[in-house]
């Protein structure tokens, strides 16, 4: 075994120890897949995102005496989910743009969390601007290349109608402006961007140029999206490790998934 390999083995052993001791916490950033969890709503003449549904096949009964199991159905974009580049028209020609083509090491990586919860509490259309990012960097240092950036808004605590926050002029929820996504993708080289809202874009994101800038810019550059995240308040601004592996769906444009973070114990 080479010295590097020995070092890596020791590091994983240390990690195993830290997980047992609690020095490293495993934080679940996922909402429960539930029939009642909101999904994105498009004008009704378009096809819609399928809601999560579950049908019992048997439950230790006449349909199967010793076993219980379900069939479930949903969209690739139902619940806490991953967006692959091929989800958006800008990313349709990106190599390895479908979930089954993405290299597995892309699913594990460092994560920065930009806390916008105060702004989002005051303004439901709060915008993540380049200035917000630069202010964050002034405190926490430059966003490392190839890291995930998550926008914390505490939006995941909203329930019922307050989550989509649909009005007559469409949904209202926080998200990034085009210049912020440009900065993250092209200047910082991030791996992906995640939010607590139903999409990576603001509720009113269709009114930016380009419309839906997070989808357009991220996926056009082969980067990933995560949405409907929860518990972002349990993550440090930086230093945590994100585990976000979508299902291996052939030509899948996304997938519901269990998003976990390895977080060094606070204090």
């Amino acid at each position: 075994m080479t010295e590097d390999a020995q070092g890596a083995t020791a590091m994983l052993a240390d990690l195993a120890t830290a997980l047992v001791s609690g020095d490293v916490d495993v934080v679940d950033l996922t909402h429960t897949l539930d029939p009642d969890f909101p999904v994105i709503v498009l004008p009704p003449e378009f096809g819609q995102c399928a809601r999560f549904r579950m049908e019992e096949i048997s439950a230790y009964d006449h349909r199967g005496p010793a076993w219980k199991w379900h069939n479930f159905t949903c969209s690739e974009h139902t619940g806490t989910h991953f967006d692959a580049p091929s989800h958006w028209i800008s990313g349709r020609d990106v190599p390895n743009g479908a979930v089954d083509e993405i290299a597995p090491e892309r699913f594990v990586g460092p994560v920065c969390v930009i806390d916008c919860s105060e702004g989002a509490a005051a303004d439901e259309d709060f915008e993540l601007t380049p200035q917000v990012i630069l202010d964050w960097e002034a405190t926490h240092g430059r966003i490392p290349k190839d890291s995930w950036v998550l926008m914390r808004t505490d939006w995941s605590r909203r329930r019922g109608e307050a989550y989509l926050n649909m009005k007559d002029d469409g949904p209202h929820s926080p998200g990034p402006v085009p210049a912020a996504v440009e900065l993250l993708v092209h200047e910082r080289g991030i791996r992906g961007f995640g939010t607590e809202t139903v999409g990576t874009d603001a509720g009113q994101g269709s009114h930016y140029t380009p419309p839906y800038p997070a989808h357009h810019i991220l996926h056009g550059a082969g980067r990933y999206g995560l949405q409907c995240l929860a518990n972002l308040d349990l993550l440090p601004p930086r230093g945590a490790m994100l585990l976000a592996a979508p299902l291996k769906i052939r030509n899948g444009t996304g997938s519901p998934l269990r998003v976990l973070a390895l977080v060094p114990r606070a204090g």
Partner: protein, 419 residues
């Protein structure tokens, strides 16, 4: 006048819910013509195609000329009671439980005498208007009515057994989001329903009618999504035992022919709501309601499906949707058989194009929500199984009856149809 039925009190939880019993079921094939007529609220008898003689009771050959050409035709309902009797003792549990029943012989103006139940307000040896009705077993019987309306006549004991009057009953309307939801809720409250439960899907997004519905006294909005098995089960767990009339108005429709999208996305949604939704509701509410078919004044009486008349014959412009309606219609027949023992009526209400966003570019006539609601209430009051609302549906039903294959040609090959 009839004695008005009092609004029932709360149920005594220590008493066993009476098990539904039925009047005699068997009928000859010929006699089922009367049942089919009663299902639509028509008074029909067989008329001989050769000699014109009106027949009673139903038979296979003319009683006068022996011709086999007997046709069910709408018949003059006027007549006069020539004999009457009150049945006080019966070996049939159904009649024993219901006490005295007034029956009589009525001489009809068309020249035949028929046996019929007599409404309480029919005068001795008085004139009557004959009606064909479905009894609790879903079979056609004749009920002689007073020639003119009398006070509270709908509360007559025999009539209440034949009908599904919403008065004093509790109603579940399955989709509060549907364009007809508000009109239906108001109509049921106006008809004296004690409670209208409204199923509301996806409470995480609002809808236009919510405030108006909530403002109606007697309306209770509860979560229900007919595409979600668990949601249907949970609601049945709460109100399955106090749903006396269920109106399934949940519907998914996207205009477009078979080749319009080239996928099954909308068609699947149509089947999920229109077919599987009905099935999910039926599997949990059906047995609960059928078990309460004899549960006092506010017993469970009716299941109402709102269907497109293109359940009968496909209209290519909405081909996949029409297929989902055909599936629902077929399932409604299975449901009818399953709940028969409980005396539950399954009423299908057929409409042509309805006044909503999905039929917006179509010219009138379109079925207005209020007209639909009126038809539902009057169908229940008549105890019907089959109702057509509006000119389009009535015409389509008549053409379908005349010759389904000809109608298919008209709708599919000649650019016909009204969608």
């Amino acid at each position: 006048m009839s004695v008005p039925i009092e609004r029932p009190g709360k149920k005594n939880p220590q008493l066993r819910t009476p098990v539904p019993t039925l009047p005699p079921v068997p009928r000859s094939r010929a006699a089922l013509g009367l049942t089919a007529a009663a299902a639509e609220g028509r008074f029909m008898l067989q008329h001989c195609g050769e000699c014109g003689a009106v027949q009673y009771p139903p038979r296979d050959a003319c009683g006068k000329c022996l011709s086999g050409d007997l046709r069910w035709q709408d018949t003059d309902p006027n007549g006069q009671v020539i004999a009457e009797s009150t049945v006080r003792v019966s070996t049939a549990p159904y009649f024993r439980e219901r006490g005295d029943w007034r029956i009589g012989t009525v001489r009809l103006a068309v020249g035949v005498s028929v046996m019929a139940y007599l409404h309480g307000d029919v005068e001795q040896a008085g004139p009557v208007r004959m009606t064909a009705r479905l009894d609790r077993a879903g079979q056609g019987v004749l009920v002689a009515m007073p020639p003119r309306a009398t006070p509270n006549m709908e509360d007559d004991k025999i009539l209440r057994e034949m009908t599904c009057d919403p008065r004093h009953r509790r109603v579940l309307i399955t989709d509060a989001r549907a364009p007809d939801a508000l009109a239906l809720a108001k109509a049921f409250l106006d008809a004296g329903a004690t409670k209208v439960f409204m199923g509301e899907s996806e409470q995480w997004r609002g809808h236009a009618e919510r405030a108006a519905l909530s403002a109606l006294e007697g309306v209770e909005i509860l979560p229900l999504d007919v595409t979600d098995t668990r949601s249907v089960q949970e609601l049945a767990g709460q109100i399955g035992g106090k749903t006396d009339i269920l109106v399934n108005n949940a519907r998914f429709i996207r205009p477009g022919g078979l080749f319009a999208r080239g996928d099954v996305t909308f068609a699947r949604d149509e089947m999920e709501v229109n077919y599987f939704g009905l099935m999910r509701l039926a599997q949990v509410f059906g047995p609960a309601m059928a078990g309460r078919g004899a549960d006092g004044v506010n017993n469970a009486v009716a299941w109402v499906n709102l269907l497109s008349v293109h359940a009968l014959s496909n209209l290519p412009q909405i081909g996949p949707f029409a297929a989902s309606q055909a599936a629902a219609l077929s399932l409604s027949q299975a449901l009818r058989a399953e709940v028969h023992g409980g005396g539950l009526r399954v009423m299908n209400v057929f409409s042509g194009p309805t006044e909503d966003a999905w039929h917006q570019p179509l010219p009138p006539p379109k079925v207005q929500p209020k007209a639909l609601a009126r038809a539902v209430i009057s169908g229940l009051r008549g105890g019907l199984e089959e109702v057509a609302v509006g000119d389009v549906a009535k015409d389509m039903l008549a053409r379908w009856r005349e010759d389904p294959k000809v109608l298919e040609y008209e709708l599919t090959r000649m650019g016909g149809g009204d969608a």
